[in-house]
């Protein structure tokens, strides 16, 4: 099959699914719409696999397939094509998207069973997949931007899926507008690149960028990449634009799994990896990315500790894990970033789906204080969730371990890294272990606090099947990227497959030295040790000694409240940016438009009117006044004549 046809199938299949479900949006059968949508994504998945196989068959240096559907915009030097590029990076990405996406579609069939608008739901999901594929495959920044905005749109629609609830509609709007801020910066980034390099094609940019390697703050590459990074912070929920993601949990849970954990939010990371030569040319940007990333890790993890909504905990966890990916990008460890992106997609999607299963079982109850002891009601959910838990903890042997420790190691070891980055990263890992264990403990273990009227029940097989698959992937997913040190002691010395696969895409960090194996082992031990201790503490506290937690939080109440209220960032944004802006707008409308400009026009009118009535008042019919005007006119004329 020709590549163009294959690409067409890959892209068109979800689009057609979207259209079919969109036009039959009034049907209520979850099974029919779900199957249509799932099949659409599955076809895409098959196409993705075929692409991957095709790349496998190529020589490593020439692994790239470009399908060009022709020109989109063509104005003088600006020439943008509908070009879609499959290379090792995007081929893996589309596998993840369609693979995980397919599983989540399947899960949704069960989860959305009772919803009336299920066809619309599946239409949106397919629409999302379509846009995500465009984002990933787009060969120029503009094509990428099409998907970039498209996924934002899908996200908006899905977050506000239950739009009759004002809060949920607001959450969708918040997500879209926050993303738009990033998108505006993304546009500026594109313009900078276009004006400096004359192209927006990603491969051409990657080839051209190293020629401008620079260290100033105002250089082309630095500014351009910084603006792109702002765009990425919007999409990938980093400081300062992360605020939309926790609110985005208003959407149906599978949506949170697909969009707000596994795929869309990683788009920013993907963008940076995609353009890694350009970013490497701008060390200042890299530093900013690393710092923002690690700060996000710590901030989000600390908020995660205090949250009581199962999805909110996972949301902050996602923000925090995305922070790791950015940290990795910032220190130049793009492979590690992608590796973590992939493993995170597995285990976070798993945990979100697991939480969905829990919520489903609890009849839409999301507060973990009202759960506990669900292990015996939901054995499968518990088991699979535990796999995700172990993975995110970084338990040796599970996928998260490999990816996270590689990131931590690189943040120490890389010439772009710093020990403080490692320290904060490790702190983040410790906190992660704490809040994830807390979540497990409060949800599944310990005593049941489930209200009497709720009778939890295990989900249907159609929901469990994706959980199981993802659980397996969470466990074994790490083996494609076994770090060199670990590989060296394992039997058969397995290589880092992922690094090899991405070898031609990811540029090596300039000036990197040979790894110090002993050091690496030490750091690995430290972080794993810290995580274990913290997990153990959390387990003890939340399974057995909840009173102790209570009294402790009471002691540090101000701090606890601050963290519980998410450091008041939302309030800050609303209090100091959004509300003043709205008030400002009201004022400029009232004062500038109505009171000033309109008044001015009235004044102009009144001036004419007044002038008219003044002149009219001169015509008062009094003969002597007329004579006076003659006299005055005479005086004026004479004066004028004499002044000459």
């Amino acid at each position: 099959m020709s590549q163009t046809a294959l690409m067409s199938i890959l892209l068109a299949s979800p689009l057609i699914g979207f259209l079919i479900n969109g036009f039959r949006r009034k049907h209520h059968s979850a099974n029919v719409s779900g199957i249509i949508a799932s099949v659409a994504v599955f076809i895409s998945f098959v196409a993705a696999v075929l692409f991957w196989l095709e790349l496998q068959g190529m020589a490593p240096e020439s692994r790239s397939i470009l399908v060009n559907y022709g020109s989109w915009m063509n104005v003088e030097s600006l020439s943008i094509n509908f070009g879609f590029l499959v290379d090792p990076l995007s081929s893996l990405m589309i596998l993840i998207i369609t693979g995980v996406g397919f599983l989540i579609h399947v899960f949704s069939i069960g989860y959305m069973h009772h919803d009336k608008n299920v066809a619309k739901y599946f239409a949106y999901l397919n629409f999302f997949i379509f846009n995500m594929l465009i984002l990933v495959l787009g060969d120029s920044l503009v094509t990428l931007f099409v998907g970039w905005e498209g996924v934002g749109l899908a996200s908006y629609l899905l977050i506000g899926f239950w739009f009759t609830d004002k809060e949920k509609a607001s959450a969708g709007m918040k997500a879209f507008i926050t993303n738009r801020i990033g998108d505006a910066a993304f546009l500026i980034g594109m313009f900078i690149f276009f004006v400096s390099f004359g192209t927006l094609n990603i491969q051409e940019l990657n080839a051209l960028a190293p020629t401008v390697a620079e260290s100033t703050w105002l250089g082309v590459a630095t500014l351009g990449t910084l603006f792109l990074f702002i765009g990425a912070t919007g999409k990938s929920a980093q400081i300062p634009l992360y605020v939309w993601l926790p609110d985005a949990m208003a959407g149906p849970t599978p949506v949170s799994a697909l969009i707000h954990a596994a795929t869309m939010v990683t788009a920013g990371v993907y963008l940076i990896i995609r353009m890694n030569p350009v970013f490497l040319a701008a060390p200042n940007t890299m530093m900013v990315i690393a710092i923002i990333g690690v700060l996000t890790v710590v901030l989000a993890a600390s908020i995660g500790i205090t949250q009581n909504d199962i999805k909110k905990v996972l949301a902050y966890s996602t923000v925090s894990q995305l922070g790791y990916m950015f940290l990795a990008c910032g220190v130049g460890a793009f492979t590690a970033a992608f590796f973590h992106l992939m493993t995170h997609a597995f285990f976070k999607a798993l945990m979100f789906l697991g939480s969905g299963s829990v919520i489903h079982a609890m009849h839409e109850e999301q507060d973990i204080r009202k759960m506990g002891g669900l292990k015996k009601y939901l054995p499968w959910t518990h088991l699979t969730f535990m796999m995700g838990w172990l993975a995110i903890l970084g338990t040796p042997g599970f996928s998260g371990f490999f990816s996270k420790d590689e990131i931590l190691w690189m943040s120490w070891h890389s010439p772009l890294g710093h020990w403080s980055l490692w320290a904060l990263g490790a702190l983040g890992a410790t906190m992660t272990a704490f809040y994830m264990t807390r979540l497990m403990a409060l949800t599944f273990w310990g005593k049941s606090r489930v209200p009497k009227e709720i009778h939890p029940h295990e989900s249907s097989p159609i929901m469990l099947f994706p959980l199981v698959v993802l659980a397996i992937l969470s466990v074994v997913g790490g083996y494609v990227g076994i770090p060199h040190v670990i590989g060296a002691i394992l039997p058969g010395h397995p290589e880092n497959i992922l690094a090899g696969w991405l070898g031609n895409i990811v540029k090596p960090i300039p000036g990197i030295t040979e790894a110090d194996a002993a050091m690496e082992w030490t750091l690995m031990g430290v972080s794993v040790g810290l995580a274990t201790i913290s997990a153990f503490i959390a387990y003890t506290l939340y399974v057995n000694k909840q009173e102790a937690v209570q009294s402790f939080t009471n002691k540090i109440k101000p701090v606890y409240e601050l963290v519980y209220k998410k450091y008041l960032v939302d309030e800050l944004y609303f209090g100091y940016i959004i509300n003043p802006l709205v008030r400002l707008s009201e004022n400029i409308w009232a004062y500038i438009d109505v009171r000033f400009i309109d008044r001015c026009t009235y004044w102009a009118g009144d001036l004419m009117k007044g002038g008219g009535s003044f002149v009219r008042s001169l015509q008062n019919g009094n003969l002597q006044s007329y004579a006076m005007y003659i006299g005055l006119g005479l005086v004026l004329t004479l004066t004028f004549v004499m002044m000459r």
């Binding site: 015509q619 019919g621 009094n622 002597q624 007329y626 004579a627």
Partner: protein
């Protein structure tokens, strides 16, 4: 001495200044008086002032046309006085009033 000359040697300018003063007096009368008949008188005053300057110019330029002009002016003045007074009479007959303030029908 200039000062004595100004008073002793009478020239064209003296007559012109006299004419100006008289003219402006007439004008003040026209502008300020209420009585329509007095206004007409003031107009006569102004015409007389002009006549003075005509004659003076005629004399100092040795041109008799100045006097001819005065002759005409006088005729017109007489005619004007007649018409003006006739109007005044007619107005008075109707309104029993010659105060100019009551006749503001030209108001715009």
């Amino acid at each position: 001495m200039v000062n004595t000359n100004v008073f002793l040697e009478i020239g064209l300018n003296h007559y012109l200044v006299l004419s100006t003063v008289l003219f402006c007096l007439g004008m003040i009368g026209v502008l300020l008086r209420k009585n329509a008949i007095v206004m007409l008188m003031s107009i006569e005053l102004m015409l007389n002032a002009v006549n003075i300057s005509f004659i003076a110019f005629g004399k100092y330029n040795s041109n008799i046309d100045g006097q001819i002009m005065v002759f005409f002016v006088m005729t017109i003045a007489a005619a004007e006085a007649a018409v003006g007074l006739a109007l005044a009479v007619s107005i008075f007959k109707r309104f029993k009033e010659v105060n100019i303030r009551f006749f503001e029908h030209l108001k715009g």
